[in-house]
């Protein structure tokens, strides 16, 4: 077990990530979500919470994603559908978690299977949404900087209007 010592005594014990190598492919992700959503807030000690968070990321990087990738690279369509279904669920909650899988999705789009096509479509939509969100944040930052400069009289109205237009266009 991986042990996390609490400040005032006591400890949290979580299963070693090596043991998860033999789990069903989707289970490490379910475990990560379970601990994040149900247990983490109960640990009280913020240092322990951070350490557990880091361990969960480690599991994601070292076990959960590589295992999913190994399934996506395989030939078993049933397993691929099961894995994609889990990936789709995660993409709705936290798209960043499945970033390493992106290149494999593109390869899978060659497979002629309606269920797989639909799942890939849904996941790709989540990626596009996330990309747009990122872009929007970038434009918003630029627009705010320009706004500040405009109010200070350092740039003209035309330049500020251009930045604002770019932001609003993307937002719409």
């Amino acid at each position: 077990m991986r042990i996390f010592y609490k400040k005032g005594g006591g400890a949290i014990q979580l299963i070693d990530k090596e043991k998860m190598l033999e789990w069903p492919v989707e289970l490490p992700l379910i475990f990560i979500e379970y601990i994040r959503n149900n247990q983490l807030k109960l640990y009280e000690d913020t240092r322990v919470q951070k350490e557990v968070e880091a361990y969960l990321d480690e599991i994601l990087k070292d076990v959960a994603i590589p295992r999913l990738i190994s399934v996506l690279e395989g030939d078993d369509l049933e397993e691929i559908i099961l894995a994609l279904t889990r990936i789709e669920e995660i993409s709705n909650k936290n798209i960043e978690m499945i970033n390493p899988i992106k290149p494999y999705l593109e390869k899978l789009s060659n497979i002629e299977n309606k269920q797989i096509e639909k799942l890939i479509q849904n996941i790709s939509t989540q990626f596009q949404k996330a990309e747009r969100k990122k872009e929007l944040a970038k434009k918003r930052k630029v627009m705010r900087e320009k706004e500040k400069l405009f109010l200070e009289g350092k740039i003209n109205g035309e330049e500020y209007a251009k930045a604002r237009k770019e932001y609003l266009t993307l937002k719409d």
């Binding site: 949290i12 979580l14 299963i15 289970l27 601990i35």
Partner: protein
């Protein structure tokens, strides 16, 4: 009764110290070195068990071809072949071997039953299924006639394969339950043992499907009786004092003992038992501690040698002022059983335990856990257990 302390003083200091000690030491834990002259039994994975089974059958076939008078050998399970390993505090099987011949008239039924069980084990392992001892009996009632016969063959098969019964996928019916600060995996499901209502989780006999995945418990409490479990459960004892509670509802069954051992080993948690203050309660504690004679070949997989006897001790009856009318007089059988326990090496080697049993024998009294409720229903959870776990008052 010990002077009533304020609840905030009952910080379980002694139990926590033991937990920290175990955590530190746990990282260096080595596998048990069995003494010379004892049989080594392995807990096998499905594939390994199948390989061993095929090798055994191949040997039998080879013998038939070579001699025409085949026989099988297996470690004897008679009491003369049961050895107490003092160092590891376990009951183990010695190296005495018995031979079962295929060609004598008296052994025909015995051998046929044995081979039928082998056939069933093969089927279970191939299909990755589990069956209870009762199901094995019903798979061929005509042949087995009585469940005692099929049970004996099942134990023979396990010893022939030098493995635990669970490795043969023949399991005992579920009996025990567990509740508290623990999360487990049962195949594809994550189970939270805090969120299953007051009944807790029924300990699965298919422990090869179970894995401990998370816990913030600091100790394990094993209670003899369901009544005490209900009290602890109603009080949500584990919320205030981070622990895992389990009961076998009386005598300790295999699944409960195996699960307790797994918890103790995986989580390095100290284990305390709460049993009746009578020879049966003490015997139940001893079975958790070192295993039963009948299943001595599985002891290393079933015993929890570090379990502490928390209570109810005979000395507690005066200390906690249990009223005289809540104490029961010992009958002849209790006295006989207590004397038998006092004759056991493992009791003789534990002076505190010996003293407590001698005190019971002197006073000729016994008491149930429920006798503590003479001070109120919450006395067990608010006072007795926290105080003992704080002061380290255990054997």
């Amino acid at each position: 009764m010990a002077k009533k302390s304020k609840n905030q003083d009952l910080d379980l200091k002694a139990a926590k110290m033991l937990f920290n000690e175990y955590l530190e030491r746990g990282r260096e834990e080595k596998p048990i070195d069995l003494p010379k002259g004892t049989v080594k039994i392995d807990d096998l994975k499905r594939k390994q068990a199948l390989e061993k089974l095929y090798k055994l059958v191949d040997d039998i076939i080879r013998k038939i071809y070579a001699t025409g008078r085949p026989s099988i050998t297996l470690p004897s399970r008679t009491s003369s072949n049961i050895i107490w390993d003092e160092e590891n505090d376990l009951l183990l099987l010695g190296e005495q071997i018995m031979e079962k011949q295929f060609h004598s008239l008296t052994s025909v039924a015995d051998i046929t039953r044995l081979m039928r069980v082998l056939e069933k084990v093969n089927e279970l392992l191939i299909k990755d299924l589990h069956a209870t001892k009762r199901e094995i009996f019903y798979s061929d009632v005509k042949l087995f006639q009585d469940q005692k016969n099929s049970d004996k063959s099942i134990e023979d098969v396990a010893t022939m394969l030098y493995t635990t019964r669970n490795s043969t996928h023949i399991v005992a019916s579920a009996k025990g339950s567990c509740i508290g600060r623990l999360r487990i995996r049962d195949k594809n499901d994550i189970i939270d043992l805090e969120g299953l209502g007051s009944g807790g989780w029924t300990i699965s006999p298919m422990l090869d499907n179970i894995e401990i995945i998370e816990s913030d418990a600091e100790f394990i409490l094993v209670v003899e009786k369901d009544a005490a479990m209900i009290r602890l459960s109603e009080d949500r004892f584990w919320r205030k004092y981070p622990c895992i509670i389990l009961t076998a509802k009386g005598a300790a069954d295999i699944a409960t003992r195996m699960f307790l051992r797994r918890l103790n080993k995986d989580l390095n948690l100290p284990v305390f038992s709460l049993v009746d203050s009578d020879p049966y309660g003490h015997y139940i504690h001893s079975v958790y501690l070192r295993g039963s004679k009948r299943l001595s070949y599985e002891s290393p997989f079933l015993a929890t040698p570090e379990i502490k006897l928390l209570g109810v001790l005979t000395r507690d009856l005066d200390k906690y002022k249990v009223p005289k009318d809540c104490r029961l007089p010992m009958n002849k059988m209790d006295i006989k059983r207590t004397k038998e326990l006092l004759n056991e090496d493992f009791v003789k080697n534990n002076k505190q335990w010996e003293q407590d049993l001698k005190l019971a024998l002197n006073l000729k009294i016994k008491a149930e856990i429920q006798a503590l409720s003479s001070h109120g229903f919450e006395f067990l959870t608010d006072q007795y257990l926290p105080e003992k776990l704080t002061t380290g008052d255990w054997i």
